[in-house]
Symmetry: C2
Subunit: 308 residues, 2 copies
Amino acid sequence: MSFDILQDKILEKKNPTVAGLDARIEYVPEHIRKEAYAQYGEGLKGAAEAIYQFNVGLMDALCDIVPAVKPQSAYYENLGWQGMEMLERTIKYAKSKGLYVIADIKRGDIGSTATAYAEGWLSGASIEGKTYKSFDADCVTLNGYMGSDSINPFLEAAKAEDKTVFALVKTSNPSSNELQDVGVKVGGQVFGVMARLLERLGAGTEGKYGYTRIGAVTGATHPAELAEIRSMMPHTFLLVPGYGAQGGTAEDVKFAFHKGGKGAIVNSSRGIMCAWKKTGGDGHDYQEAARNAALAMRDDICQYTSFE
Amino acid sequence: MSFDILQDKILEKKNPTVAGLDARIEYVPEHIRKEAYAQYGEGLKGAAEAIYQFNVGLMDALCDIVPAVKPQSAYYENLGWQGMEMLERTIKYAKSKGLYVIADIKRGDIGSTATAYAEGWLSGASIEGKTYKSFDADCVTLNGYMGSDSINPFLEAAKAEDKTVFALVKTSNPSSNELQDVGVKVGGQVFGVMARLLERLGAGTEGKYGYTRIGAVTGATHPAELAEIRSMMPHTFLLVPGYGAQGGTAEDVKFAFHKGGKGAIVNSSRGIMCAWKKTGGDGHDYQEAARNAALAMRDDICQYTSFE
């Protein structure tokens, strides 16, 4: 129920982190690129195949230590439909390895349009009365600027399939202040309005750990706001980007967790994917480098979070 | 330059409307569905092909009277990668017919992720130093909740290719008030903060008609806010959804236009696509029905807007 599936995987692996699968072709070691180009040509198809092989290698190296992966849709759409086809395969492979899949799509639309998205990403399209799944993630990220009309259709699809969503509250990027931090007359800031809305929409969908089906995205780069949001949203599971490359530290993200390492998951993308670029090798060691980076991240974050 | 291309097409056809290409399989007449299923099977591929044939038929019927089409990405993602492949073909066909293509994707992400999206949808992916285009729309819609970090990478891609973007300001759906209408301490409401941000980011990119490269989405269902936004954003081209099925009227949308029918385009999706369902026929007349609906919409809106 709800975020129980993800929380169980986190507790089992004693690791509250998620590995981003956000590969640009430049992140893929040369030997993988060369082989893919030789077979599929140097172009969109060849790049998609190279990234797929890289993703598979990363997941093979990480799946026994990391509970979840987060493919970022942008890097697949970057390659057009051939990237999207490869994303479907990536998600399927991740699930076959027992990884929880958070599709980072940040969609936001309304009514029948939101339903169309929710079907494509979570519950499957209906064609002449039969259901056909395609992207079939366990969880998606959403942008709720349009209000509850843009959240509820995803919540319905998530309920039907025992899946989950995360909606943006306070994002990790520098310009997140321009809208999200604006003070509102009712008190607090815009991100607080969003936080309260999400807690309200999720109410009644709590699982055994007490979290609703609607999680919140809250950046590690704003630790004060992270702590504020943790206390404003006691029933909400948090997805925390911004650790590592963007500047967030283990000390910053500790505010996201409830007792016993519960209620949050921290993302790292480039820190894991591109770890091989820092070993001095030619990329043949990318799996070992990613695994070492993932273990170091786990240990770093677990300094401040115990899993009792 | 900027929105000049779209504005020229509007003035040439004396029609400030855009036809949504948002087909669910249920909107496609039976004879087209049957033929596609016979050839490609009843499933994701068959549904994608049926919708493609429907889209082509609609564009053939509309391309001499309508300046632009707006495919909504949700209805293509609904069918997984096979829907996305069909979206690429739909966009290509639209451009071959001289239609301006607004890809309604409402993406919102930051930094290198926003760049990856912008490449996929506007400027093309870079692979080993060569550029490969895939979705290649003329314009995309964006969600700026994350601030300028989520707009600027698209603006850069749009500048490089003489393309454009629209970002959400005040949306047409009932729950848009939950966040967008919240009063802010600096005065006005959240949507006003977004409006000022977009005018600022677009400044300096005005074309011959005086509009920047960053347009704004403003729903027809809130005519008072539409008028307010028109005056707050004098250099911004407006995309106005919510006419017709959602309840917006020609009298409501008149506030979007500057003198001479400039500065705005009004969308209709179901009103045109599904017009055949109201003729009493079996769907063989879907092209005529769509054309008649598009002409009626044009005449309705032009009651209040002159193209001198």
